[in-house]
Symmetry: C2
Subunit: 514 residues, 2 copies
């Protein structure tokens, strides 16, 4: 057996059976090894941002890592922006980067670069395998590192000679400890705050907003009147009918402060205190109300769900009945197609247990209102703020959950960064409906320009924000990559097309002109 | 005046009048400042790899830097692969990266990342501006650093509060020294080698293969019988009728060794000894024939053209007549459309003084043969080996040289990485004809798989190399971005479409089915 096969088999033994790949010459032995292992699935992306974004979506939904396969430093570099998002989402990813043979680096061939330097800002763990004999064990350790709570990117660099060299065979999985338990003192402190009579909110992130922790939080809320919150960039949130409702904090600093006005104590469960996404003159970066106290129930690496259950118990709420959102399907809207009526239609037609990959940006206005009573679903957001994530993330989520419909809500500006993911949707026949909000502009930047105090931008500045000249045609773009596509200019057209896409299986794209 | 305007004006004072931009919120004051400076041109790319690739093409052709404008760490990350190519090409680029306000970084907002860490592997110079008062002077130093011979990437990080803060005004240009002079000893050593009677080759890279150094090299060759060579990944080569012919070394190690067989001495002018692009089992990395001596006439940062002129003088060849390639326009080919007949048609129709952006990869077979007697032209190659460079590079070259036709020869696999550059071509009405070689495969990887000794790849391995399912439709993709496009399946169709595109002004795309 060669090192490459040992690596593929070791990852499989550790539970990693899905690879998202954009390989080159230095990864050819790994590609050949994927052939030999029937249980391993290999999915090609035509650009590395597709590969890493899909691995993020897979990690968020599968709760275990996929592997990437990237081609040296430049291949890794192309995947870094979505690895940044994945790092912020605490997604588990085994990030495999091929490299020149160990003895070849010294010649500084054109593709030679500082792979570790590129990897460091996004990786929680980095290792360069040096021997075919140990690359399997390195792979097992990479999986363990990726799964370290709450999840992180483990970058494993595999030189070509390590991949092609002979070795004994794969390594077994290493024991995985799970998240750290939360001590009683943290639970007691949170319970005390919640009993104090102060206006209290529980700010949550991670597993606790889509798993059993959410039920416990709901019991605490019913018992104490505490608000349940998550931040705007929450990686994955369970929402809709039958789910304990969590309020998502707004985007802008002044809106966050407004929202939190009167809150005297914030209990953190896997989250950090809210901050402004950007800095603005005369606007705060730190978004807790003055004098608001903070206590940490669970750090991100700790078992927040168990902590919330212990908290409910400590408050005598173990048997309380949490409130759940009621099913409230929006009516079919009248009037023109705009961001609000589009959101209403999405809320109306959303099938049960759908996954929403949300990079709608300014076009997402109104989604929350129409989705809180919709069929239950998971919504995934641009956790790191780097646009170009929505389409790949949806593809990865669809691979992780083949029986669930994925709806990708995508602004046109951000969609252009990684549109190549549509091709992967077509090749793998992924059950994703992509809605492109086509406003032909970086509308968010028009807002931001005004917020920066630049109220009368000239033609040159506007040309940096306006995408009308020429207009993008997303029906052509999607068709060019093998995805069936249509354009909607009225509410009726959008409703018909979305209904049709949801009833069918496989990729569809709808360009919504707004 | 605010810092952002001081920066834009300082760069202009230092000769940088062109910005390739994909800005975000933290760059809005720079965007607004671009408005105020009429002499500065701002060109939007819909993805950062477009921005950096275009800046590379501009730098190679203009011989001076453009500025980029990128959005924090993830924006820089998306541009890194083409910055890797630019670093290998020694292109001068002022790489401006916006950042959070200095006081905001501490809050670790979602977009916060290690910008310097991302920048380090590609940058020759990095600085984070800390005061509005000095950002203009920082800009002037960045230009100086970018122009440091032979050219490099100078990354200037501009926090938002540095951009929006008040300051006194712009900084003047700093004196630029030019390349270092070559000492007489190096010239004497090269002259001695060339007089020794040994079989000698001059291996060249940089200015010397497209400027006056090439004429001097031609005189030396006529006088001494030395071969004139450049490496396969030469950033810019002047070629065609009336030009001193330079042999481009082949791609694979064994071909290079074959080509150099019998050479006893190599004189380096701006180049380094040839090495294999990748390592292979049983194949050498170092590609000089055994026993071949090396002497350095000029290091990359030194004035190679002056050194070659001094060398000609030292050899008594100052008045010699260099040989120039004769005009030999290829005939119109008969037979089917394939990589050879396509190359013949390109050579036949190439207009005088065209610029070729070459990422044809395996489809470029035969180009050299048909182009050496074609109309004189400059050809730009994928200097760092990172694919996804051809379309952006051609766009940047067209901005630098608006009176010259740009022909972009692009493989379909590599083209998908940065296809968004077509939109910029359309918006700016750039005079670029893009030829997509549509073989629906990573053919180079099929070769490489075989070279790696994997002669019978299975279905899963082949699915990583084959792009047939689904087929990309480049006519749809280009049309979706506003570029007029057509498909050629016969030699007649390709010749007609190429002729039409060359006669018109503005962007066109031809999908060549091979």
């Amino acid at each position: 057996m060669i090192g490459a096969e040992s690596l593929v088999r070791s990852l499989l033994a550790s539970g990693v059976d899905t690879w998202f790949a954009n390989p080159g010459t230095s990864e050819m032995h790994v590609v050949a090894a994927l052939d030999k292992v029937a249980e391993t699935r290999a999915i090609l992306g035509l650009f590395e941002g597709v590969v890493t974004g899909a691995a993020d979506g897979y990690g968020r939904m599968a709760g275990k890592p996929a592997a990437t396969l990237l081609h040296l430093g430049p291949g890794l570099a192309n995947g870094l922006a979505n690895l940044h998002n994945a790092r912020r989402a605490a997604s588990p990813i085994v990030n495999v980067v091929g490299d020149h043979a160990t003895y070849h680096s010294q010649y500084d061939a054109p593709l030679e670069s500082d792979i570790i330097g590129f990897a460091r800002p996004v990786s929680g763990w980095i290792h360069r395998s040096m021997r075919s004999d140990s690359v399997g064990a390195d792979g097992a350790r990479a999986v363990l590192a990726a799964r370290e709570a709450p999840g992180q990117i483990a970058t494993l660099i595999v030189p070509a000679d390590v991949a092609w060299g002979e070795c004994d065979g794969p390594a077994p999985a290493l024991p995985h400890g799970g998240p750290a338990p939360v001590g009683g003192a943290a639970v007691d402190a949170a319970a005390e705050a919640l009993r104090s009579g102060k206006k209290t909110a529980i700010l949550m992130r991670g597993d606790v907003v889509h798993g059993r922790g959410l039920e416990a939080a709901g019991r605490v809320a019913v018992k104490t009147g505490a608000r349940l919150l998550c931040d705007y960039f929450v990686p994955r949130l369970r929402r809709g009918a039958g789910v304990v409702p969590v309020e998502r904090l707004p985007y802008f600093a002044e809106q966050i402060l407004d929202n939190l006005s009167g809150v005297q104590h914030v209990v953190l469960a896997g989250a950090r205190p809210p901050v402004s996404f950007f800095a603005y003159k005369d606007s705060p970066s730190w978004c807790l109300p003055e004098g608001c106290a903070v206590s940490v129930l669970a750090h991100p690496h700790e078992d927040g769900a168990a902590a919330l259950e212990a908290l409910a118990e400590a408050l005598g709420a173990a048997e309380a009945q949490a409130a759940h959102a009621e099913l409230k399907i929006p009516d079919m809207p009248a009037g023109a197609l705009d961001v609000l009526t589009a959101a209403q239609i999405v809320g109306r037609l959303l099938p049960a247990d759908a996954i929403i990959s949300d990079e709608s940006a300014t076009s997402g206005l109104g989604l929350s209102a129409y989705l809180e009573g919709a069929q239950p679903h998971d919504i995934l957001s641009v956790s790191g703020g780097a646009i170009g994530m929505g389409i790949p993330l949806g593809a990865g989520a669809a691979v992780a959950c083949p029986d669930r419909k994925v709806i990708c809500l995508q602004g046109d500006g951000g969609g252009m960064y990684t549109l190549q993911a549509l091709w992967t949707q077509a090749r793998e026949n992924l059950d994703v409906t992509t809605v492109i909000y086509s406003n032909r502009a970086y509308v968010i930047l028009m807002f931001e320009l005004m917020r920066m105090g630049i109220s009368t931008p000239g033609a040159k500045a506007m040309s940096m924000l306006d995408l009308h000249n020429p207009e993008l045609n997303w029906v052509s773009l999607a068709s060019g990559m093998g995805v069936e596509a249509s354009r909607a200019e009225t509410t009726e057209q959008f409703a018909d097309q979305l209904q049709s896409a949801i009833q069918a299986h496989g990729p569809r794209l709808i360009e919504v002109i707004i």
